[in-house]
Symmetry: C2
Subunit: 227 residues, 2 copies
DNA sequence: CCCGCTATCTATCGACCGATCACCCAAATC
DNA sequence: GATTTGGGTGATCGGTCGATAGATAGCGGG
């Protein structure tokens, strides 16, 4: 009644994969194949025609959700010297927030983390290397501080960018995991958060830079610089 | 070998409850009672002498973790007029971070959220009503803005405090869910985040207050005030 | 030292769940 | 319209898991 009975192999596989994403990100990877099949309007053994076992199906869900999430234009955007750094950073975070604050992404990300996958850490290492470094570079430049080439990025600076990242991502957690209400206009909030970051952070960064140009590999300690 | 064979009912129950917390916060609530029993060094049916079923065991875990997490002194601390507001807020967040950034809390909180419990929203509503309101009140006073009695707290103000909360809580998520490295000295980072909040936020808050004293129940819109 | 209480164990049930296999039938081909 | 191909189903197996019941054994009171 709902859909054609016989589909081409490709079509059916895509349908199953799409359904699996929706299903597992709702109930978690403990969800049963029979229940998934029911939602898809097919019988459970059919899943095993397209995927050798449940784990393969889950892998496919990961692939489906993790790939195609990264937008290579983000890096270009942050590198685009024709626009003011401030504007670029805000534009990036607005875009990033839009990509990341979705039911599927937030929940799959959490589920995979809790399951002990290292997908999260791999993804976030990418974010740190490709995004955070650029954001910090631009903030430094904007405020006349030394470039990362001159003074390597310190732990505290990464923490400050982490904090911005967190405050955006947590909006999604509040909504899609805790089930809380969030502001209607998320765009506006994200912009305000980025603005607040750009306004407030340089002071802290400057303080850190003047006293302690420490790299990630801890430098030898010789007494405490003033806080 | 490991422990006495026969324990008193109370003792055994506490042992099971403690073990259940450790177990379920590691593997999630899908964990098997047999595995839990094995870790406790007892047989699986023994669990059912102390808890009628698995769900009751899980409920107990929730109770064990959620209760005793709230420190009533937090409110007193934030209300204590004898200390400068700035100092109080920083002291509170350092304390709060210490209470909240634990393996058990972070993971149980996430698991319960993903499971669709409303424990999270109930807990966080408490946090908002008891903590956020006080923080905002103090920030307002510190910077000579009208009190919440005069001008009700706006959505944006809550969002800013949410952001600070998020950036602290996310440190725990990074460590205990994603398995990432975090700074050795979390205390220091939390202090810097709170400081950065106190330095950067008032400007945004003031801007919001001057233009729009909106309550949580949306006020009628009549054109846009300047951003 | 023996008895009774009960904490704990062994054995097992019934439902569930992932996976398999033999079979069916819709659609493409000639 | 007969044949072939392969998408789809029904039935079922073996293992897992929550839960139960009866047997066992450690501890306290007399």
């Amino acid at each position: 009644m709902a859909s054609k009975r016989r589909l081409s192999a490709d079509e059916r596989e895509r349908l199953i994969a799409r359904g699996a994403v929706a299903f597992f990100c709702e109930v978690g990877f403990g969800g049963q194949t029979r229940e998934l099949a029911k939602r898809l309007g097919v019988t459970q053994p059919l899943l095993y025609r397209y995927f050798p076992n449940k784990e393969a199906l889950i892998d496919r869900v990961y692939r489906e959700v993790y790939l195609n999430r990264w937008d290579p234009r983000w890096e270009e955007l942050l590198d685009d010297d024709s626009r003011p750094a401030r504007e670029r950073i805000i534009a990036f975070y607005r875009d990033y927030a839009k990509a990341v604050l979705s039911y599927e992404w937030i929940r799959i990300f959490m589920f995979s983390g809790l399951r002990g996958m290292n997908l999260n850490s791999r993804y976030l290492t990418l974010v740190r290397d490709r995004i955070y470094t650029r954001v910090i570079r631009e903030v430094r430049r904007e405020y006349g501080m030394p470039s990362p080439a001159e003074v390597p990025i310190g732990e505290l600076e990464f923490e400050l960018v982490w904090a911005l990242h967190a405050s955006i991502f947590y909006i999604g957690i509040r909504k899609w995991i805790y089930g809380l209400e969030i502001p209607e206009n998320v765009d506006e909030v994200v912009e305000k958060l980025a603005t607040s970051f750009l306004d407030g952070v340089p002071a802290v960064m400057a303080r850190a830079l003047e006293g302690a140009p420490k790299t990630r590999a801890a430098r030898p300690r010789r007494g405490r610089e003033r806080a």
